[in-house]
């Protein structure tokens, strides 16, 4: 479903490698957690996956479409949640959602059904008529998530989606993503919250200084580290090397 091959991105004429020859496959129905310390290359990778950055080399194929060759086909089949919820403040929540419904061609009937359910899921029903300007950081994150879930894409690409969410919303999101993947959807998300990755992900990739230093199920990662306890211990050990 997601195939990243020999992906590289560097700055300073190659002196600083933000992403270094990354190879990765994520299957349909899988939740893939993308971990790494700050500045490891997570967001750079994600931005290249959604067409916000151009790779120096390598390819990214999502749902069988190459992001460089068929960007529109890729974008139609994904949804993206950015690292920080910078959205249109001068729109009301519902205007923002309708806009996304329009560009993803979500039929009116589907919107009628889906939007209230998602708003309830994240506790936004009461404020959806308000200007986004009046939303707190967490509420903005929620409206971005509702927008991302609205068109039920094949692949969800989420950059730190849990940041700013209250425990109930965070739990609801995790359940929603799990159910979606059970129906064959794919989730690729970055996070710093290792407990979430540990509990939610089918497989985990750890990126460090632009290179994928470990990738596999939690059991497989335990095999790579001396410390076998929690993902936190494994992460700390692998990223120290």
């Amino acid at each position: 479903m997601i195939e990243i091959a020999n992906l590289s991105k560097s700055y300073l004429k190659g002196a600083v490698k933000a992403v270094d020859n990354l190879n990765l496959k994520v299957k349909a129905g899988e939740i893939f957690g993308f971990l790494g310390p700050n500045g490891a290359g997570k967001t750079t990778t994600i931005k290249m996956m959604v067409g916000l950055l151009k790779p120096d080399s390598g390819s990214i194929t999502i749902n069988g479409f190459d992001i460089s060759e068929q960007p529109l086909a890729v974008k139609n089949s994904i949804s993206y949640v950015p690292e920080s919820p910078e959205i249109y403040e001068k729109l009301t929540g519902i205007e923002y959602l309708n806009f996304l419904g329009d560009v993803y061609s979500v039929p009116g009937a589907a919107r009628k059904e889906k939007i209230p359910a998602l708003l309830d899921l994240f506790g936004l029903s009461g404020v959806v008529g308000d200007l986004i300007q009046s939303y707190s950081h967490g509420m903005r994150q929620k409206i971005v998530l509702v927008g991302a879930l609205l068109h039920e894409p094949e692949v969800y690409i989420l950059d730190e989606p849990m940041v700013g969410l209250d425990p109930r919303s965070s739990n609801n999101l995790k359940n929603y993503l799990r159910e979606s993947c059970d129906r064959g959807k794919t989730v690729f998300f970055s996070t710093h919250i290792l407990e979430v990755a540990e509990r939610l992900c089918d497989r985990i990739g750890i990126i460090h200084q632009g290179r994928l230093i470990a990738c596999g199920t939690l059991e497989e990662l335990r095999g790579l580290a001396e410390s076998k306890e929690t993902l936190e211990h494994i992460f700390l050990e692998l990223t120290e090397k």
């Binding site: 700055y11 974008k75 993206y80 249109y88 403040e89 729109l91 200007l131």
Partner: protein, 553 residues
């Protein structure tokens, strides 16, 4: 279709339609405030508009006397188009490439031309609003005087809406090419700025070249122009050929009007189609990765120690922060420097086109040296007024204003830092004053008087503009251009600063005419500037602590 959906959204966002509707329903006070502000802008500009309309009326009478009243319309279309061509550059750069919503739009299933087209129309509407005060009075003067019929008014409004299309498409295509080239380089900011100034310079030279009268043939040329019924219109339209179609569409009458209208419409459609075609091909080349910032190499401990060793006073730290932001944001830099940069270019044009500066210098030499030096100071003051450094000072901080609210630097110190920064911007006009000193053979002391006087004369504009911006800073902008170009405070700043300078001019003129001596003139003008500055500064520092507490982003 998706372009239209996106356009609807862009209009709601950029023109605050959703917000206004929401305020009307939930916060009528704020709604009235927003509408009231728009009315206030129109009212504050109305005296200037009235004077402009009167000028147009006089011009019409002269042009009608020569049998060529159409020149009024042609020159207005040329002026409007050139304004769009020049002023749109930074609008386009900002809206196309630096809007915050782009990182949201690019991952959506939209074609590059959908995003480009929707954003183009946003800039188009801004341009229509910009040229309205220049175009509509001319349309009115010509229509009323010539007793025009319904078709004239309908065509006039259509042309009004279409005038910016071709020049805007041209500057957009230039910007698309510039940004896709610049994106290949590491020095993006520098190249963007060089590109902007090159375009501006090329435009000025091209314009002078196209409209220049062949040397030695001035009399013949004028005779030919006046003998031809459309001579003046044709001459004016050489600066911008589509203006001929627009002017003829409105003034020729009958089938010729229709034909010219269709030409104008066709050119506008062709301009738009070309933009969308080029945009579809290269828009993303300049956009994707365009905001990437090159990482520098890691600093050694010694380097780090060196950099962190020197401590600045809070006032200098604030001024330096502003300067760094200016230098690293091409849109701010261009807007702040354009005026100062354009003047040497305008002065240089006659040197290249063979006219020389002799007539201008001859005229200036007739003015006493003391008045010349004060003129140099006034020039610096005017540059301080026109550079939107102070009038957008708080607004430019945008969402990051919270930092200024939490840092342990008093509002007064922060204001001093901003005054210092604005003075540094005003100082950028010193080379032009130095050039004047060289050409007009000033002594060193006269030059120093001009510069020192310039500092004093800059202060009323700087401090009154800071006051205006602090009263109602525009902090919620989503692209940096809005902090300057779509910031009402900048317009109010110019109106208020202009009024203060007018007062000083009147007082100075009175003093000079009464005494015939330079000293009373200096005392009145510079002393008056100092008093006005002190007054504004007093109010500013009095209200600043409360404003810093109250402002919520």
């Amino acid at each position: 279709m998706k372009m239209l959906i996106l356009l609807g959204l862009q209009l709601k966002v950029n023109f605050g339609i959703s917000a206004l509707r929401w305020y009307l329903k939930n916060d009528p006070k704020r709604f009235l405030g927003s509408v009231g502000l728009a009315v206030l802008v129109i009212v504050s500009l109305s005296p200037i508009l009235f004077v402009y309309a009167q000028m147009m009326q006089s011009a019409y009478v002269i042009a009608a006397g020569l049998g060529q009243p159409g020149i009024i319309l042609a020159s207005t279309v040329v002026l409007s188009s050139l304004m769009v061509l020049v002023f749109s550059l930074t609008y386009v750069m900002s809206v196309f490439y630096f809007s915050r919503d782009l990182s949201l739009l690019v991952p959506l299933p939209l074609l590059p031309r959908d995003i480009l087209g929707a954003k183009f129309f946003v800039v188009l509407i801004l341009d229509i609003l910009t040229i309205a005060p220049f175009y509509l009075p001319s349309l009115l003067v010509f229509g009323v005087n010539s007793g025009a019929g319904l078709l004239y008014w309908v065509a006039g409004i259509f042309i009004f809406l279409l005038v910016p299309v071709v020049p805007l498409a041209l500057s957009s295509i230039f910007m698309l090419c510039l940004m896709s080239l610049v994106n290949l380089s590491r020095k993006k900011d520098t190249l963007q700025l060089i590109g902007l100034f090159l375009f501006l310079g090329a435009l000025l030279f091209l314009n002078v070249y196209l409209t220049s009268i062949p040397a030695g043939e001035e009399t013949d040329f004028l005779e030919r122009i006046l003998a031809d019924e459309q001579g003046l219109v044709r001459l004016t339209a050489r600066a911008y050929p589509p203006a001929l179609f627009a002017a003829r569409a409105l003034s020729a009458g009958g089938g010729e009007s229709l034909l010219n209208f269709l030409y104008f419409l066709g050119m506008s459609a062709a301009g738009l189609a070309l933009l969308l075609l080029v945009g579809q091909m290269i828009f993303y080349r300049g956009l994707v990765g365009g905001s990437e910032v090159q990482q520098g190499r890691a600093l050694s401990r010694e380097e780090l120690a060196g950099i962190t060793a020197g401590a600045l006073s809070p006032v200098w730290a604030i001024a330096l922060r502003e300067i760094k932001y200016l230098v690293r944001t091409p849109i701010y830099l261009f807007n702040s420097l354009a005026m100062v940069a354009v003047i040497p270019i305008v002065l240089a044009i006659p040197l290249f086109t063979g006219g020389g500066l002799a007539p201008l210098l001859e005229l200036l030499h007739t003015v006493p040296k003391a008045i010349q030096a004060l003129g140099g100071a006034a020039f610096m003051g005017l540059m301080a007024l026109f550079a939107p450094a102070a009038s957008s000072s708080f607004s430019r901080e945008g969402r990051l204003f919270w930092i200024s609210q939490v840092i342990p630097v008093s509002p007064e110190q922060q204001i001093r830092g901003k005054v210092l920064y604005s003075l540094i911007i005003a100082f950028l006009s010193v080379p032009v004053v130095a050039l004047a000193a060289f050409w007009l053979s000033w002594s060193i002391s006269q030059f120093l008087i001009a510069v020192l006087g310039g500092v004093i004369l800059s202060l009323p504009a700087i401090i009154s503009n800071l006051l205006i911006d602090l009263l109602r800073p525009y902090l919620t902008w989503d692209n940096p251009q809005k902090a300057i170009k779509q910031n009402i405070n900048v317009i109010f700043g110019m109106v208020v600063g202009g009024a203060l300078y007018y007062l000083l001019y009147l007082a100075g003129r009175h003093a000079y005419l009464a005494t015939g001596a330079a000293l009373p003139l200096y005392l009145v003008v510079l002393g008056g500037a100092a008093v006005l500055s002190a007054l504004c500064y007093g109010i500013l520092v009095k209200i600043a602590p409360a404003r810093y507490r109250e402002i919520a982003i």
